[in-house]
């Protein structure tokens, strides 16, 4: 089978950090209407197997392009950059300090008078940092220069920190809401 391997080409979308989410969903549905195993139930086993593989490939492509962080990592991979998180260290001390402060604030929020309000404020702060980082990530990714790609990788890593922080904020929110 020769299913298109490049995720952007698979959906007929221009390769870049900005993706039209509505168009992505629309094309995803159109492709699944042809590829999904349910469309091949009455066909030979071989064809059914191919349908499972093609449909799984399509789902992987959607998951990658839908999430900004996965999309950025994928773009970097396409440009030949190793995005394995374990091989990246962040040397920006100001950023690391900021993360420590945010995490302290997360702990404090748990004990705050109105924990949910404190969490809400923390989330707002995290989001504004994230927006800034995303904007610079987009700029770095537009370039093919080695220096820019290295900055993109660093920025991606920073955004992954924020992702983890947001996950923890939401987890705590869930816990508080369950009480």
């Amino acid at each position: 089978m020769t299913i298109e391997q490049n995720y952007f080409a698979l959906f007929g979308l221009p390769q870049g950090f900005q993706v039209d989410a509505a168009l992505l969903s629309e094309r995803y549905r159109a492709l699944q209407k042809t590829l999904h195993p349910d469309r091949h139930v009455q066909q030979s086993e071989r064809e059914q197997l191919l349908a499972v593989q093609a449909s799984a490939h399509l789902n992987e492509a959607l998951a990658t392009l839908k999430s900004p962080l996965k999309r950025a990592a994928y773009l970097l991979t396409l440009k030949g950059v190793d995005t394995d998180a374990r091989s990246i260290t962040i040397s920006d001390h100001a950023f690391l300090l900021q993360q420590m402060t945010l995490r302290e604030q997360l702990e404090e929020a748990r004990l705050a008078e109105v924990p949910l309000d404190a969490l809400e404020q923390l989330l707002d702060r995290a989001e504004s940092f994230q927006r800034e980082l995303s904007a610079s990530l987009e700029q770095y990714l537009a370039s093919d220069a080695a220096e820019a790609l290295d900055m993109a990788l660093q920025t991606l890593r920073k955004l992954q920190f924020f992702d983890k922080l947001r996950y923890e904020i939401e987890l705590l929110e869930d816990q508080l809401a369950d009480l």
Partner: protein, 620 residues
Amino acid sequence: MLLQIAEPGQSAKPHQHKLAVGIDLGTTNSLVATVRSGKADTLPDEVGQHLLPSVVRYLDNGELRVGSDARAQAADDPFNTIVSVKRLMGRGLEDVSRLGDQLPYEFTQGEGGMPYLKTVAGDKSPVQVSADILKVLAARGIESLGGELVGAVITVPAYFDEAQRQATKDAAKLAGINVLRLLSEPTAAAVAYGLDHAAEGTFAVYDLGGGTFDISILRLNRGVFEVLSTGGDSALGGDDFDHVVAQWVLQQIGHTELAQSEQRRLLDLARAAKETLTSQDQAEMSITLAGQAWQGVLTREQFDQLVESKIKQTLRACRRALKDAGVSTDEIAEVVMVGGSTRVPHVRTLVEGFFGSVPHSEIDPDRVVAIGAAIQADVLAGNKPDAEMLLLDVIPLSLGLETMGGLVEKVIDRNTPIPVARAQEFTTYKDGQTAMVIHVLQGERELVDDCRSLSRFELQGIPPMTAGNAKVRVTFQVDADGLLSVAARELGSGVESVVEVKPSYGLSDGEIARMIKDSFSNAQEDLDARTLREQQVDADRLVEALESALAADGERLLSVEDRTILNQGIEQLKRLRQGSDHKAIAKGVEVLSQASDEFAARRMDDGIRRALSGHSIDEI
């Protein structure tokens, strides 16, 4: 859509309606439905009952009763009358003992840690009991439709994990049913509703059954039902309301210790009170327990208070599902209520309060799932070649692997659309290490002990290397039924070792074969007959698939020679199929499948090209 091109002298087959059913295998009740003359409906038994109580009673003469008769005897013969067996599906002995006094049965350990129920007719696995229910439903389908079924769509709670889904599929296999697809119950309900209302937009399906709770958030867009997220609790349902009421009665009486048959009667009383309270403000109750007569009144208000914490538990799952879907309550166009337990008024009130809109229940909440399954079965059987409908489902729980320190590394996150395949690479941590334990887990928690263990196997034969140099790639594959297979392969040295896994609490293929054999009186002869029948069905399916594929695309995609070879292969398999040598038929199927591999690949490529041709890159 592929065009049907009829060649001269090889006209396409006249449209043949295939018989297929949808089966809702419920905790309390089960149903079977089908599409006839374009309309989906549930099928009644000979006395007009649509609901089949999911109860099986085993008798000492080897006979069994399924349905209302069995349920009527549950209190008199509690050990041999199996109710709510769905709660035991895919569960280990440990899980079952955790359910504790809710179950009156005696268990014994079967192969692979599966609990078997002790009955007068011998030890029965939950899979066997479910198969006995499925057989009755399939027989009802065959009887009402007057012919053999090409297959069935069987519904499972969206929140069913891997082991529970596999157990359900095993039960169908044991009952001799060809499973077209395992379908999530809320998705089935959405199909029944969506098509009925010609609706578009984002829906929530709130499905509270006898023993399971599901919430699914779906988006419906031009025939495509896309599940955005799903959540729930596979051990929470209307049965729990009964237990809470039963506890309350015991408190009133001041009793705690009850004989099994008394406990069954008490639960029946509690259920009756719950049902009364769906339309009345109070329910009068009376029962004699341990020789002591008791009479009392349970008001709607008291009942609401008793069950409120259980209902709130469902709302927490709703909140999580909305968050996972990235949707807020005001974006939900409609809330659909499914499952008999949504008849409880307090459930409706709290759900309405949570979503801020009046929930829908125009289609009988007991039957809507079976109806949706029947619609999907009709499409999958090939009766609607032009149907736009497509269901895109997700896995309900994350899948991962055990890593150092008893932690779980997620490989596939919950709510990932299926089918899906994902690989992760691991390495050795000791010099000269030649084996690696692959422990597959399902769940959201970070610690191994808090997740469900699905399978554990060892990859052996890794060539000795210094730590960190071996590269082991573990591949997870989840098919469209939500069933997982895992393979591990050592890449660094080129040595390959692939292991396919089945969940720990499932039945082994050997066990299934033995059970099928046991279910026949003249074991060997009947088994041979069944095997022959299965091979013939396989052969017919392949011949039919190839003939229609050739009619549609043969001329366009194949050379004259290739077409001749395939046509000859088809004729040969047709001849073999007339004989009674099942091994020869199996071989013939294999040969023809291989011969048609290339054609299948070309057809798939062609399909992709066509789907993409609508939006090529240069159009942007």
